[in-house]
């Protein structure tokens, strides 16, 4: 098993054109084995790009191909409308990798999904996507760094540390059920707790790696969830242990303010909750290897 996406996931790429990021990554996703069944583009309905049929709208794409997931890479000004189009058409799982969407747009999109389309799960924006190794890869993760077969589930706020952690596991011969990059934006559609709950419920996932970073309080919430609702072992790493306080390190999400939000506070909360806390991604892989050996 896996969470959110599997071999039955059929992906529609929104905003498909031959030169788009969506096309580049969508083709890589297809080469990995993902069912990429359609694209949409209001100006290219009826075309076929690299063997992918293009429709004018997501609704048409669903009617013609049975698409049940969408992949959005369109620029920030158009991404909120694309997410809502997918939700209105009934897509249950939307992956949006677009970076630099204004925070207020994200807040409105999330509030609209919460109120009017509770059946749609948004992953992102500004995230690397999701990979259920051997089944489906939606997003920008290089498929070869992941290993199929489980038993580890992985969730990360940072994109590149997500790759790093997947790769550490793969090099040790430890497979993954699903890896989810939730992104570091102010209003992520899917959070740590959503993923931890899904991994806890997934029978094939036996242990979880969670990669957080400084700023916000999501890791602290995750710690409470781990303490109260999880019996599977969790290994964690928080990026930014050595970051100077008060400086914004690139991500809208990675801002340290006061004591809540610091790496030390997050690590303490997670340790308190019973999670194993690594000092760097390599150590997270090593700790997980110990956990897997004892399963």
């Amino acid at each position: 098993m896996s969470i959110f996406v599997d071999e039955n996931t059929k992906v529609v790429i929104q905003g498909l054109s031959p030169t788009s990021q969506g096309c580049y990554h969508g083709l890589r996703n297809r080469a990995y084995g993902t069912q990429v069944v359609a694209g949409t583009n209001p100006r290219r309905g009826g075309e076929v790009i690299e063997g992918i049929p293009v429709y004018s709208t997501v609704a048409e794409a669903i009617a013609e191909t049975g698409a049940n997931a969408s992949f959005i890479t369109v620029p920030p000004a158009g991404a909120p409308a694309a997410i809502l189009e997918a939700a209105e058409a009934g897509i249950p799982f939307v992956v949006c990798i677009t970076e630099f969407i204004p925070a207020h747009d994200e807040a409105r999109v999330f509030a609209t999904l919460r109120r009017s389309f509770p059946e749609t799960r948004l992953l992102g924006p500004n995230c690397p996507g999701i990979i259920s190794p051997g089944k489906a890869n939606i997003g920008i993760t290089a498929g070869e760094i992941a290993l199929a077969g489980g038993p580890v589930g992985l969730v990360s706020r940072s994109g590149t540390v997500f790759y790093q952690a997947l790769y550490e596991l793969t090099q040790k011969g430890i497979g993954q059920t699903t890896g989810v990059g939730i992104g570091g934006d102010p209003v992520p559609g899917t959070g740590f707790v959503d993923c931890l709950a899904a991994f806890q419920a997934d029978p094939e996932t036996k242990a979880v790696i969670m990669i957080g970073e400084i700023g916000g309080t999501e890791e602290e919430r995750a710690a409470r969830f781990i303490a109260e609702h999880m019996d599977k072992p969790v290994v964690t790493y928080i990026a930014g242990v050595t970051a100077p306080p008060g400086r914004k390190m690139g991500h809208a999400g990675a801002i340290v303010s006061g004591t809540s939000g610091t790496a030390a506070a997050k690590m303490a909360a997670l340790a308190e909750a019973g999670a194993l806390v690594a000092q760097n991604p390599t150590e997270a892989g090593e700790l997980m290897a110990d956990v897997v050996a004892r399963l």
């Binding site: 790759y163 000092q279 390599t282």
Partner: protein
């Protein structure tokens, strides 16, 4: 982008949040002329991005031309915690009856907006929050609903705002929310929000943080983009579209993604090195961006070794490698460069570096190895 007080007040005014009449000045004569026009008494306030200016002598009241001149002379050029005052804001003085606090920001946990209002303004609000949290009224606002006058009035009552100020405060909250939302701010804060002795409510201070991602729909922000406020290297990085934060060490860090850049700093520190900076080349960086990153690092004399740590996703390995080669050909870089490349097209990238064949370039198989290597080299070359 954090606005200075006077910029924040100008932004408030656009959305109808009442502020005092005032003018910004960069020299004494302009400040005096402003004071004459506004009429005495005036307050002359240092415009710096650091707290505690009042205690440092950065705020003075003037009742006459002579006093205005003396105040501007004293404040312009003043060193406030390492920030030299280059600009003052001269505004009409206000007779304060009461001081309140008001702010809007995003509550990331609730994924809603949060309004905080307190009848105890004018002091450190974090201290109030800690010592008497009940003194701060909070309202969660659904982004689809916003806040209306009735909701604002109820919140003002709940916060214990004086009866004669309730309507005024509610009006400010509605305008301030528009400034926050339509104005694409991450934070708007007024401390103090004052009730004057003649019964008006207005903003005596302004703290505004704009969401840089929304700059594409706010051409009016351009005038505030004060690159001079940054350190020269940070400015160079910003101009090249890189996220750079200077640190104190000797190992120059370049990574893709904020998380990996932070993680790279962590690992360098754990193996005994000291990061000289945090530098994120972002997602999807091409050769040009990579070359720019090396150029920025090359201007830092503290740097003894450079660690390029790239895990390609949207960023492609061959572009990173091409960028490194480009940088070596066009700028002089003394420091050895330890490169760790994995992910999308990493093999192509490694091949390009191997073919270039410079002794200065050291490929390293893992992040931990590369961190050790770069830290050792920095120590040897100290």
């Amino acid at each position: 982008m954090d606005l200075l007080e006077y910029q924040g007040k100008q932004y408030f005014a656009r959305y109808g949040v009442p502020v005092s009449d005032g003018e910004a000045a960069e020299d004494v004569e302009t400040a005096v002329t402003a004071a004459e026009r506004i009429g005495y008494p005036v307050v002359v306030k240092a415009q710096v991005r650091v707290g505690g200016r009042g205690k440092a002598g950065g705020v003075r009241v003037a009742h006459s031309t002579e006093e205005a001149r003396a105040a501007a002379e004293a404040i312009l050029g003043l060193d406030i915690k390492g920030h030299i005052v280059q600009r003052v804001w001269v505004e009409q003085a206000t007779d304060i009856a009461k001081e309140y606090y008001a702010s809007f920001t995003l509550d990331r946990t609730a994924k809603s907006h949060l309004c905080m209002l307190s009848a105890r303004g004018g002091v450190d609000i974090e201290q109030v929050a800690e010592e008497s949290p009940e003194a701060i009224a909070r309202l969660e606002i659904d982004p689809l609903d916003g806040i209306d006058a009735d909701g604002a009035r109820r919140l003002a009552q709940q916060a214990g705002i004086d009866t004669q100020a309730i309507d005024g405060v509610a009006g400010v909250l509605v305008s301030l929310y528009r400034c926050y939302e339509e104005g694409d701010a991450d934070l708007v804060e007024i401390n103090p929000l004052v009730l004057t002795t003649d019964g008006r409510v207005h903003a005596l201070d302004a703290k505004v943080t704009l969401d840089d991602s929304a700059a594409f729909r706010h051409p009016e922000w351009e005038v505030w983009r004060d690159l001079n406020a940054l350190e020269p290297r940070e400015r160079l990085a910003r101009e090249k579209g890189l996220q750079y934060v200077g640190l104190d060490g000797t190992v120059g860090i370049i990574a893709n993604g904020a998380g990996l850049a932070m993680s790279t700093c962590d690992v360098v520190k754990q193996v005994g090195g000291e990061p000289a900076n945090f530098l994120d080349i972002g997602g999807g960086a091409n050769a040009e961006v990579m070359a720019s990153a090396l150029e920025v690092i090359a201007t830092d004399e503290k740097v003894r070794s450079i660690f390029v740590n790239v895990f390609g996703g949207i960023t492609r390995g061959e572009e990173v490698a091409k960028g490194i080669v480009q940088a070596l050909e066009r700028v002089h870089i003394d420091a050895p460069i330890v490169v760790r490349l994995d992910g999308t097209n990493a093999e192509q990238g490694r091949a390009i570096l191997a073919e270039y064949g410079s002794e200065q370039l050291i490929s390293s198989p893992t992040m931990l190895d590369a961190a050790r290597r770069a830290s050792e080299l920095a120590a040897q070359r100290a």
